[in-house]
Subunit: 197 residues, 2 copies
């Protein structure tokens, strides 16, 4: 590592988001981002593998929060409740760290650029795999562990998308809970399907 | 299009799978595949955008089968039952078209090579989006349409993985149904959780 750059990572993310907004994602280069942040390209590449990765700054922390929530869940908790607690914790972290304009600008780039969408899918699949492993470590058998993790990631994604699109977004965790409830309702093929109290 | 090459697509897939097995995926080039198939590289690129795409030959047909099954589902069917019927049809098509050694060799490449895994994730996300749109066209409201599609794709994937790994695989459709049942059980947070008859 070269000389210490105070919050180089944060400055690079901020510079990148400004430039993506001003010029568009496709027309912004790593050199532009480094220049705007007052740093060198070399410093950029010490923090991020490529331009796309700037949009996924914090994804390791997200995984850590999810795994911590699984570890903290009570012993006898049902697997899907454990996953819900983990996804609520993930939602709370995102909302605490990022202002809504940042989240919306980032999401617009994810949905509009195939290469960024790809990376998003990979990150979510990787979170799902980590979550599955954490459930197995709690002795949740297969296929329940894989299914609870994959269904939970799907519900989180739907809750997140509705939160980002909402006029008055409110709490992300509330949208996530609502998506979990809706998922339970839609997957229930039992004859009696009375709404839950 | 150049001169007609009888089943050029099928010959390219067969040649590619042979070479992937003999030399490994990473060490096989498009030129190798074309040569083994007795065709030109130009012909290869008329059929496939790149080497990865050979492993996804037939994915348009898979989408067509899924959408046809949704269209044929009875009017009042519950969304998740519609999705199950579509995923069973997809399973039946895969099993009808491909012998198990082909399926297993292909799946080993998907899981071992990050770039192929990426493409697989994108194809599955794209199937999920098509399925969501088909459910919406049946007047399934949101978020039920997105959730039923995403959960169905997740269950299909788990059923498929178990089928591929099984010593006596049997019917893929049966594995898919079992995964749907297991998903329903794991997402059910209702107090009474007696196993279904």
């Amino acid at each position: 590592m070269g000389r210490w750059e105070p919050d180089a990572r944060g400055r690079l993310v901020k510079a990148a988001m400004e430039l993506f907004e001003e010029r568009g994602y496709a027309r912004t280069t790593v050199a532009d981002i480094a220049e705007r942040a007052g740093l060198t390209e070399r410093t950029f590449f010490r923090h991020f593998a490529d331009k796309r990765e700037v949009l996924f700054s914090g994804s390791e922390d997200l995984e850590a929060v999810i795994l911590a929530a699984v570890a903290q869940a009570p012993d006898g908790a049902a697997p899907f409740d454990v996953v819900l607690a983990a996804m609520e914790a993930a939602g709370a972290m995102i909302q605490e760290r990022r202002a809504m304009p940042f989240v919306r600008a980032r999401w617009a780039i994810v949905t509009e650029h195939a290469e960024v969408r790809e990376r998003e899918l990979i990150k979510m699949a990787s979170l799902g795999a980590a979550l599955t492993a954490a459930l197995r470590a709690r002795r949740v058998p297969e296929p329940a562990a894989s299914l609870a993790a994959a269904a939970g990631i799907a519900a989180f994604t739907v809750g997140f998308e509705r939160w980002v699109a909402a006029k008055r977004p409110g709490d992300l965790a509330a949208h996530v809970r609502a998506a979990f409830d809706a998922l339970e309702a839609v997957t229930s093929r039992a004859p009696a399907r009375a709404p839950r109290a």
